[in-house]
Every structure is written in C-alpha cells, then in structure tokens.
Amino acid sequence: MEYKLRKAEPKDVSDILRLVKELAKYEEMESQVTLTEKDLLEDGFGETPFYHCIIAETPGEDSSEDPSVVGFAMYYFTYDPWVGKQLYLEEFYVMDKCRGLGIGSGILRHLSDLAMKTRCTGMMFVVAENNEPSVQFYKRRGAEDLSQEEGWRLFRFDKDSLVKMATPAEE
C-alpha cells in the first residue's frame, strides 16, 4: 500500500486526537482522554512545542479525495544527565486496517533518522509488559528492556499530590 510520512501540521490536530482516542479505546481507556484539539494546537504548534508528531497518510480513492491519516507517532526530546539528548517516543499507532504493510517500520526508521540528525544518543519509550507483539516488534530491532536489565520503575505524582506538596503546610 502506498503511504506517505510527513511532519504534522496544525490542520492535523483533529486526526491526531482521533487516533489518540482510537489507541486509548483499544486499551479500554477512552474515557481517560481529556485532551482537546485546542490543547493539541496550543501545545504542539505554539512558540514552544511540547510534542512533535509524524503522520502517516494514504492517498484518497481517486484524485478528488483527500488523503487519509492512518497512523502517527508522537515524540519529544528528553535529557539523560550522563549522555545528553534522547528522543522519547510517547505514542505510536497505525490503524488496524493498515497494519502489516511496513508503515510502522517506516515510522520507526524515520524517527531513528531524526534522532541521529538531532544528535540524540538513544530513543526511549515504555511498553505495557503484557503487550507481547509490541515487545517483540521492538526487541527485533535491538530494543532493551531497561526495567528488566536495570530495575527501573516508573513513578507518578498526580495533580492532587502536587497541589498538596506545593501548598505550604499549616503551621
């Protein structure tokens, strides 16, 4: 299947949100997506982008039809205090009907190229431990499970805890 990869533009925010929700639905978490198109626009296409996206699109049925956005990868840059810049792959999804056609590999290749061009020393991402197909997809390409090899565990302070910590304690 013919497809094209390109940088996301402001016009893509509704497709990005659609795909974010589709992936969340697949994880049975659709109700947890509270982000809006407006957030995506401000956060991704303002003065300081907080994320970047690569879009995969397939051509329309004929020349009069718009191309369809069928996959995306959302990433940003992080910083490792030992080695410097890293590319962090936050979200990566290709619509079911377009799987197995090399789009995923194409996206990963594009991201690898980008990481090299921007002088990143590695690419990081999290995978759910029970997502065997994804774990294998990444391991086949040389990914290492740092949680396993180095014992890292991901922690979170949610908003309530942050507010509690930010507020001075009552004397």
């Binding site: 690419m123 390409r141 040389g142 740092l146 949610d158």
Partner: protein
C-alpha cells in the same frame, strides 16, 4: 538547620551541575558512563531551546567542608501525555551526603510541584531503581504511585548503534 537557597540554574552553574551528576553516578557505581561535558550542558540547557532545566541548592561557601556552595540539584524537563497533556519529568535529583536530612530535598520537591502546577502540568513523573528503598519511601510518603507496579509499564531503550542500523534499512 542548614541555611540554604534554592534557585534556577544559570550558565555559570554548569561545572557544579556536572560535578553533582558525576557524584550521583559514582554512588550508583556508574561514574565512567557520564560522557556529558560542561560544553554540552551549556549548549543544551542555556541555548535557544533548552532541553532541560535545573534547580540548584546553594549554601554559604564556608558551610561545606569541600568548599562548594552548590550542594544539591534537580534536573527536569517537560513531557507530553497524549491523554492529558503536559507533564513535568524529574530526571535527576541529588543532595550531597553532608546536607541530607535537613529538608533540602523536600524543599526542592515543593518548588518543583509549584512549577508543575504553575505551568499547568497534570502530574510529575520520574523513575526510581526498584532496589532504592529509601527513595521509594521518600516519594511514596508524598503520594507517589508506582506506575510500573500498578499499570505494568516497562521502560525500553534503543541505543545509538541500533538506531543507526534502522536508518540503514
């Protein structure tokens, strides 16, 4: 009680930041893995587009036996969750041994929480080594949840040599 100040790092702090990064790495027996230089830290943190931010903790010079004034730091940056938006990511967090137990760590965390709330972040994320019981307790006491435990997330990495391999395919 230590007399200390917390402030945003400035370009002049890169030597101290690197020293503390190496000290923390040494504690993890990984000092030789720190290949970052002061020049990298300067370009990456104080250029047009900062890739990280730092808070530094400073004491009057005569208070530190080794003669340093910067005795602790936290390195952080902003990340993005596609369900809820901006997050604050705490990358490195270290206070010199001599200055532990004096509330400096708690204060750093408090300032980071304020920054997170002000910049409209939905939460703060960070990783902790599973065998670092002290740190785990420090964070859990303040309400942190172990997402690796609760949600089964595992952190993966593709290193440079494998990225290069993929670009060649």
């Amino acid at each position: 009680m230590a007399n200390f100040v917390l402030r945003s790092a400035e370009p002049k702090d890169v030597a101290d930041i690197l020293r503390l990064i190496k000290e923390l790495a040494k504690f993890e027996e990984m000092e030789e893995k720190v290949v970052l230089t002061e020049k990298d830290l300067l370009e990456d943190g104080f250029g047009d587009h900062p890739f990280y931010h730092c808070l530094v903790a400073e004491v009057p010079k005569d208070q530190c036996t080794e003669g340093f004034s910067v005795i602790g730091f936290a390195m952080y940056y902003f990340t993005y969750d596609p369900w809820i938006g901006k997050l604050l990511y705490l990358e490195d967090f270290y206070v010199m041994q001599e200055f532990r137990g004096l509330g400096i760590g708690s204060q750093i965390l408090k300032v980071l929480s304020e920054i997170a709330v002000k910049t409209r972040c939905s939460s703060m994320h960070f990783i902790v080594a599973e065998n670092n019981k002290q740190s785990i307790e420090f964070y859990k006491r303040r309400g942190a949840a172990d997402l690796s435990s609760e949600e089964g997330w595992r952190l993966f990495e593709i290193q440079k040599q494998d990225l290069v391999k993929m670009t060649a395919k």
